[in-house]
Assembly symmetry: C2
Homo-oligomer: 328 residues x 2
């Protein structure tokens, strides 16, 4: 049996050489003249991770017949923005392990994690201003703004067990799907034309990203740090009420609702995620959330199916399955 | 006797109407569709402050005969980047009062302060991508990177009492002077030409910004919260060894050096800045640092003097005096 990680690399075969170029650009960009900064960027480059967003820029380009020499740069910028959000997320979430490597805020401190995230954003924008077209600067600065608004809205909705599913999806979409959408749109459109195809690929990216976030939220309540490769149970600790919990809470009797609220908020509870699993059967909520993710992926696959057949189209199709099946 | 604030407004007379346009653009940009974000940006817009950096874009433009309809937008972008750094600085410094208004991290929490700073950076970059020339995007994304590197380097130099003055100046320059330099350069150059004038104004901005930072560092050890309008004594609490302290430490006997180190680091000291003033006479250090600021301002004034006479040139000249004389 092969691990999903190995299979992902196979799937990305059609854009392998451009992915290598993207990685080389990132390494170059993350190398700064300041030794302190270099020490930190060396550290975070070990996160690497799935690089799905960068891969989507390249695959969306290939699958729509829109490839340029600058696509790997665009992909690198997208990944650098993602890296910046990860570094800041870790400050926000108080996480200590990401992809089995200590987080920046654990290794150094929160101060430096904030600054390093800012550095990564600035580097990404600076690189985008060197491209021949301004489209990436425009799409990605707007995307970054949406990301931040999604995170701010989420923080204001903590402990909101009555949130409608649409609100959850709007927030999850803004904080995650919007960068997937931008990656796919830029792949299909950069440096400019192809607006119609851009919109279609943008919609595909949105569905993929939203289902990715829903599955992330499920893994946070059901997964283990060992399997997922990052801290789990953070959402409950941070008061984030995600789709599986919203579903369970909405259908629970008053006693169970009170117990769920207590698992999130009662003082002195150690391991709130474990407590939550004790007081409520989360399985129906997870099943419901996975069903919604499945629905989104089905829609994304129909959009993929409408593209002309190519190795990149097959890869996009396989990638959508990965998002659904991953447990990491 | 008029307050320095009133006099500053008089000095900025030649660019008053463009400053109003800049402020209107900022208000428009900081208004977001999300109610949570709006609530926060309403709050931070009360900081307002001196808006020296935005004013410098406009004055440098006027004084070099380089004015465009887009200068107020460029000025607004510069101020928004500055606002983002303030919001993140407050997280970093643990400050609770800025310009007599509670900081974002106090009113909400650190999470939200990080996100709001990110939002401001993103908004600023997004606005820059809408300008007719890419120069502002290029200069300001690079400037933001330098700012972050300066802050990171500073955080790695905490409690370094042996730091050479050049290192202090390189760090203070990167974290502060670089945005003053960019403001002046963009004023003189935007949308593109005037490279020689741009370099000269950039040098002027650098000197102005560095002396501003040196005076800020002096006020942090000698000023009161009431007079300065923001928390003081933070540098000592945060382990930042600034120019007046470096000077005193470098000339102190071993017993005084040990007492200075203790004021910064001994556990349980309440009010480290007050303790520092007890164990060492800081006056010669402050005098030395102000002398250095004076030197920089003299050089800046010579550059101002080389420009053709105009109301804006007079305003620039008066502004340099303000930086030196301010106690706020």
């Amino acid at each position: 049996m092969t691990s999903p990680k190995v299979k992902l690399e196979e799937v990305l075969g059609p854009v392998q050489s451009d992915l290598e170029r993207m990685r080389a650009i990132m390494i170059e960009q993350l190398t700064d003249a300041s030794a302190s900064v270099r020490d930190m960027t060396d550290h975070i480059s070990r996160f690497r991770g799935k690089q799905l967003r960068g891969a989507l820029v390249l695959l969306a380009g290939e699958a729509t017949g829109n490839t340029t020499d600058e696509h790997p740069q665009v992909a690198a910028i997208v990944e650098m923005i993602h890296l910046a959000t990860l570094v800041h997320d870790d400050v926000l979430d108080g996480a200590t392990v990401r992809r089995r490597v200590a987080c920046v805020n654990e290794r150094w401190d929160n101060q430096v994690a904030v600054l390093l995230g800012d550095f990564l954003y600035a580097r990404a924008f600076a690189l985008s201003t060197e491209l021949s077209s301004r489209l990436a600067s425009r799409v990605l600065s707007d995307t970054t703004r949406r990301l931040c608004v999604g995170e701010i809205d989420q923080s204001q909705r903590r402990y909101d067990f009555e949130m409608p599913q649409e609100t959850y999806e709007a927030i999850a979409g803004a904080k995650t799907a919007t960068l997937y959408a931008a990656a796919c749109e830029l792949g299909a459109r950069y440096p400019g034309g192809n607006e119609e195809t851009g919109r279609e690929l943008r919609a595909l990216g949105w569905e993929l990203g939203l289902s990715f976030q829903i599955i992330d939220d499920c893994l946070d309540v059901t997964g283990t740090e060992e399997a997922v490769g990052k801290s789990v149970g953070n959402d409950v600790e941070d008061g984030k009420v995600t789709l599986p919990i919203l579903h369970v809470y909405g259908r629970a009797d008053e006693a169970t609702r009170a117990a769920i609220r207590d698992a999130y908020t009662a003082p002195g509870v150690e391991g709130r995620a474990a407590r939550l699993r004790e007081v409520a059967d989360l399985a129906p909520g997870v099943e419901y959330a996975l069903g919604r993710a499945h629905e989104l992926i089905e829609s994304a696959r129909r959009r993929v199916g409408a593209l002309a057949p190519s190795p990149a189209r097959s890869a996009l199709d396989a990638l959508t399955s990965f998002v659904l099946e991953r447990n990491w």
